[in-house]
């Protein structure tokens, strides 16, 4: 026995050493083989044997990794990517699979990356290729399955946002053999309609395989050559497909595509109402300004050249009013009515102003008439001055013998004072 020269392991120590060695030496492995002895206990993990003509190896595919590819089935030829490890408790080595693909085909991810790189290099994803979406698409083409959640969601959202849309559905298979060709053909066919404004192309969520049709070149080409803008809506938020990259707009879900394609009709109507209000408001504002100008003008000039200026302003305002009226006739009732009122108001103000100014003129003229010396003389009064030119208003200003000049309406009288009396006499001086 050479027991002393050999390391003595316990069983579990041996298995642990093996596990460490295997994991260090091999690490990740990719193995192809045929599935057999597939088991799925209640844990949901998958256990199977991968075999070929010369041997077999145990594989475990934990539940969390099962979305990464097709589910293995007995007899299926698959390619497994995973870590080589040892199940210590049983002394068995196995592959802990992370990813399962169908053998023979290249990996989907690889194909995706390759096509993406190629189309990107061709410029198919360039931002300047993206067609703008119409603000108001009223005829919408949809490429998707005629059954299922996607079309239902799209139609619901569209109807809610814009109740009178014209929609043309091109029903297609969205997964499986031939789906990509159908999708591409439908895009081309809808492009031949002359009435459509925009296309939505998509489907609901699913596995990578389910969405695969939207990663195929034939679909990418159809989207790229589409005359109509294309909104791509494939799967859920996290799913990106080649179709998304080529499309003019990528929507995270079919419902989102419907929301992106058309604004709520109510909002557009509201915007138009607001525009209409601002149009009328701007015009009314101007009318108000003209009115204010008139009022200022009437106040400041009318007294100087009353008739002439008033007439001119009135003519101008009537001209404006007539212009507006003819421009607006039968077109905008509210503004027209506003103008009517404005005109009436202007008319009132015109009459007011005219009357006021006329009154002032008459008063002024009356005052002038009262004050005008000539008009006083006309009524029989006279003005008496001394020879030094001073007007005589009291008997004290003269003495007997003072020479006087008296103005009467008809001319001048010369006289001299003979005597003066105070008080009792309103006309203190006598003339000779």
């Amino acid at each position: 026995m050479h027991a002393m020269s050999k390391t003595i392991y316990t069983v579990s120590e041996l298995n642990r050493r093996l596990k460490e060695t295997l994991e260090q030496v091999f690490g990740e492995v990719v193995v192809e083989g045929e599935v057999s002895n597939l088991r799925r206990p209640s844990s949901g993990h998958l256990y199977f044997t991968l075999k070929d003509s010369g041997g077999q190896v145990a594989v475990v595919l934990f539940r969390g990794n099962q979305r990464m590819g097709p589910l293995p089935a007995d007899g299926m030829k698959i390619r497994v990517t995973g870590e080589l490890s040892v199940y210590v408790e049983r002394g068995q080595y196995q592959i802990v699979a992370r990813k399962v693909e169908e053998a023979g085909k290249g990996s989907l991810q690889e194909a995706f990356e390759k096509l993406k790189a190629r189309l990107q290099a061709e410029g198919l994803f360039d931002a300047d290729r993206k067609k703008p979406l119409p603000l108001l698409p009223r005829h919408i083409g949809i490429v998707t399955s005629s059954s299922g959640a996607a079309i239902r969601d799209i139609l619901n959202v569209l109807d809610r946002r814009f109740p009178n849309l014209h929609i043309v559905l091109a029903p297609v298979r969205v997964q499986g053999e031939g789906a990509a060709a159908e999708i591409a053909e439908a895009i081309n066919t809808l492009n031949r309609r002359e009435d459509l404004d925009v296309l939505i192309v998509g489907r609901g969520g699913g596995s990578l395989e389910d969405l695969w049709a939207f990663n195929e070149e034939v679909v990418a080409r159809a989207v790229a050559t589409s005359r109509l803008p294309v909104i791509s809506a494939v799967g859920h938020e996290i799913d990106f497909t080649i179709c998304d990259f080529v499309a003019d707009l990528r929507a995270p879900t079919p419902s989102a595509a419907a929301e992106l394609v058309v604004q709520p009709k109510a909002r557009l109507e509201q915007e138009l109402t607001e525009m209409n209000r601002r149009l009328a408001g701007a015009l009314q504002h101007l009318a108000q300004r003209y009115q204010n100008r008139f009022i200022r003008a009437a106040r400041s000039y009318v007294f100087r050249e009353p008739g002439h200026l008033l007439d001119r302003h009135r003519r101008r305002i009537e001209g404006w009013s007539k212009d507006m009226r003819s421009a607006l006739r039968n077109r905008h009732q509210a503004v027209l009515q506003q103008l009517d009122e404005m005109e009436v108001r202007i008319g009132f103000r015109m009459r007011d102003a005219l009357a006021r100014q006329t009154r002032r003129l008459e008063q002024a003229q009356a005052q002038l008439r009262v004050l005008d010396p000539a008009s006083v003389l006309n009524r029989g009064y006279s003005i008496t001055k001394r020879d030094d030119g001073r007007v005589v208003t009291t008997p004290d200003a003269v003495a007997p013998g003072t020479e006087l000049t008296t103005l009467v309406a008809g001319g001048i009288l010369q006289s001299s004072v003979t005597s003066t009396h105070r008080k009792e006499s309103r006309h203190a001086q006598e003339t000779t």
């Binding site: 119409p134 603000l135 108001l136 005829h139 998707t144 399955s145 005629s146 059954s147 299922g148 959640a149 996607a150 079309i151 239902r152 139609l155 109807d159 009178n164 849309l165 014209h166 929609i167 043309v168 559905l169 091109a170 029903p171 969205v174 997964q175 499986g176 159908e182 439908a186 066919t189 809808l190 492009n191 309609r193 002359e194 009435d195 489907r203 609901g204 699913g206 009709k265 557009l268 109507e269 915007e271 138009l272 525009m275 209409n276 601002r278 149009l279 009328a280 408001g281 701007a282 015009l283 101007l286 003209y290 404006w320 212009d323 507006m324 421009a327 607006l328 077109r331 905008h332 503004v335």
Partner: protein, 91 residues
């Protein structure tokens, strides 16, 4: 059969009309236009409001489904509640 309703050449599309309308309103609100220009702007603006409003309402609700993959104009009404005619699972 085509449902094309070609717009008259004189009638701009909704987007163009709305953009022009916004420009017109903005110019009017700046207050630098004389009466003639204001009236002209108002008239054009009112026409554009009418054009846009018409466009919002002129299309009737209609959902069609192509029945022939090669013929874009051969359609039947679509209710939205169609049973799966193919082995396609809900997509």
């Amino acid at each position: 059969m085509l449902k094309k309703q070609p717009d008259p050449a004189s009638s701009p599309d909704f987007e163009t009309a709305l953009a022009r309308l916004e420009t017109i309103v903005a110019e009017m609100e700046k207050g630098a236009l004389n009466l003639d220009q204001m009236i002209a702007h108002f008239e054009e603006g009112s026409k554009l409001v009418a054009v846009c409003s018409t466009k919002l309402n002129e299309v009737e609700k209609k959902i069609e489904r192509l029945v022939n993959r090669d013929n874009p104009d051969q359609t039947v009404p679509f209710s939205g509640e169609e049973e799966a005619t193919e082995s396609t699972p809900p997509g």
